[in-house]
């Protein structure tokens, strides 16, 4: 059995896929930074939002969210450093990346049902898709990340 047949055939796309389970802003900042860098490097980026990821992209949540995944006691310090360094909020970074390059954002259909949201209720989301389609999209990407 050849698990690496795509690599062998050299047909992986210049594409980075990020599966976003987390809705914590520290992780979303990391996602936005890498998306922006990949767009700069002329790579296509596809993002698949799962449970908390979908929640964090809700139009009524996206700007209010202050949830951190770790070191919560340092939250205020980090926030003031980000401001001092003029680092834009993660969603502004993502917006700029999406305007500049090829970035597609998908929401998991099951998570959309859990939050009872449609595409229109979510910022930046292009389509609501199933996990099978996402597996297919990930399978030809040079870079695959899960946050």
């Amino acid at each position: 059995m050849n698990f690496n047949k795509n690599i062998g055939e050299g047909n992986l796309a210049e594409k980075m896929c990020i599966t976003v389970m987390s809705g914590s802003i520290d992780r979303l900042i990391g996602m936005a930074v890498l998306t922006s860098a990949a767009v700069s490097m002329d790579m296509e980026v596809e993002i698949f939002l799962q449970l908390w990821g979908v929640y964090a992209f809700k139009k009524d949540v996206i700007k209010q969210n202050m949830n951190l995944s770790e070191f919560n006691e340092l939250g205020e310090k980090v926030a003031s450093r980000l401001k001092e360094l003029k680092i834009p909020p993660w969603y502004e970074m993502l917006r700029e990346a999406k305007e500049t390059g090829r970035v597609k954002i998908y929401a998991c259909s099951a998570a959309a049902s859990i939050w009872n949201v449609k595409k229109e209720d979510l910022e930046f989301v292009d389509e609501i898709i199933g996990a099978g389609e996402w597996i297919e999209k990930m399978s030809d990407a040079k870079i695959n990340l899960f946050i």
Binding site: M41, D42, K86
Partner: protein
């Protein structure tokens, strides 16, 4: 092979993008956006105060097919030169 500092200082860039004060990957994205405004064969100069940029831009230029010309270090920032090749 990058150019000497003396050669770099004599260059007349077609466009200068000042990305000082923005953090990585801001200057990289600024370079990507600005290169399309430089004629093929022309020179883009990027000013960055982020120490990651002087390493990122040669890698970026190689990947996307432009020519990295070199870096001049100034107090608190770097001047990075790239020639648009396509």
């Amino acid at each position: 092979m990058s150019m000497s500092e003396e050669e770099l200082r004599k260059l007349k860039p077609d466009k200068v993008v000042d990305a000082r004060g923005t953090s990585c990957p801001g200057p990289l994205l600024a370079a990507k956006r600005a290169i399309s405004e430089v004629p093929v064969g022309g020179i883009l100069e990027v000013l960055s105060s982020d120490p990651g940029t002087k390493r990122d831009l040669p890698i970026w230029a190689k990947k996307v097919g432009h020519e990295f010309l070199g870096v001049i270090e100034e107090p608190g920032y770097w001047r990075i030169f790239v020639r648009r090749k396509k």
